[in-house]
């Protein structure tokens, strides 16, 4: 099967993730949208791996997953810390870094 539908789907998911990051203000949902963007790029990687016939794309997708896992751990810890100090997970409230 031609890779173009997969790539178009990947582009769609990535754009939906982008819009989500721009629109939503709950920090956790913003994080989920970032995850969606990473997953969309993974789909493109896997598709290109199949198109070109070598496994480098799959290895790249694997590294993206590792980075995403690390990012989620630290990001959610930051959200927890912010929530603990200001009782809200909205990104609007955290507009000042210090107070």
């Amino acid at each position: 099967m031609s890779p173009t539908p997969f790539l178009v789907l990947s582009a769609l998911l990535f754009s939906i993730g982008t819009v989500g990051v721009l629109v939503r203000r709950n920090a956790i949902v913003v994080f989920m949208c970032v995850e969606l963007m990473l997953n969309a790029s993974n789909l493109a990687f896997v598709t290109f791996a199949r198109t070109t016939g070598n496994l480098d794309g799959q290895v790249a997708a694997f590294f993206v997953m590792v980075v995403a896992a690390a990012e989620v751990v630290v990001g959610l810890a930051i959200i927890m810390t912010i929530f603990r100090t200001r009782r809200s997970a909205s990104v609007d409230d955290a507009s000042l870094l210090k107070y």
Partner: protein, 259 residues
């Protein structure tokens, strides 16, 4: 490739729902659907290793972490719909549309050539093939990954750690505080009364009755009182009154017959 045409619309709909839904839990569940569908698409594209990793790491670990934090933060922390920047939402959606059009036009103008397929690369199996690449060409990146993971774990521990500012109260301190409260404010030093146990209800939302028949506020959790989910036992009290009246009538009849 029927599977693609089934899953692709589902994924797009779920992703849109994730962005639109106001409750964060719904977003997390819709994201789970998208991720499992992605795993199936990986399997359909000759990547069985990534299929397993996607399910284990994303739907297993990452989404559970998301749900865990959601429960910790409070499930009903839904977004307010008030825009802080005027027109921001509209502009964001416009930018997203422009982005889609741009990428799709770019994709349409490229030629991907013939699809080679991974039958040759997966000759010894997909996992050995990926491992051979990981531990030869990408071995340095792989080692750096370990440093990244350790840093992330340490960072999470440092961020989640809370310093104890006051010493932990011992049993002796607790007793002293209780006796002081009793001396100063007359608070009952013993444990709080248990919830009511009646023939019809004995759950924690049933208040115990005081000797004068009024429900005891202390026998109910403060959370339930503020939520307003305390069971109203006025109806039960009327039943009690009925039973009492009946017993009284019976005793009177007995007394009369004895005379």
């Amino acid at each position: 490739m029927i599977i693609f045409w089934i899953l692709a619309p589902l994924m797009v709909v779920c992703a849109l729902g994730m962005v639109i839904s106001r409750k964060a839990v719904h977003s997390a569940l819709l994201l789970a659907v998208v991720m499992v569908s992605l795993a199936v698409l990986y399997a359909a594209q000759q990547a069985p290793f990534l299929f397993a990793v996607q399910i284990i790491v994303y739907t297993g670990a990452v989404l559970m972490l998301f749900l865990f934090v959601l429960m910790l933060v409070g499930v009903d922390a839904s977004d307010s719909l008030v825009e802080t920047l005027r027109g921001q939402r509209l502009v964001a959606i416009l930018i997203g549309l422009v982005f889609v059009v741009l990428i799709v036009l770019g994709l349409a103008q490229t030629t991907v050539g013939t699809v080679v397929g991974l039958n040759n690369a997966n000759l010894d199996g997909n996992v050995p093939g990926v491992a051979a690449l990981l531990f030869s060409t990408y071995v340095f990146a792989f080692e750096v990954t370990s440093a990244l993971l350790i840093t992330a774990a340490l960072g999470a521990m440092v961020l989640a750690h809370r310093e104890r500012l006051t010493p932990k109260p011992s049993q002796r301190d607790v007793v002293r505080q209780r006796m002081r409260d009793y001396a100063d404010r007359g608070l009952h030093p013993g444990p709080l009364p248990a919830p009511g146990t009646f023939a019809r209800h004995n759950s924690v939302d049933t208040p115990a009755l005081l000797p004068d028949g009024t429900p005891s506020q202390l026998s109910i959790s403060r959370v339930m009182r503020s939520r307003g989910t305390v069971r109203d036992i006025a109806g039960d009290r009327s039943a009690i009154a009925e039973v009492e009246a009946e017993t009284q009538a019976q005793t009177q009849a007995l007394e009369r017959s004895e005379r």
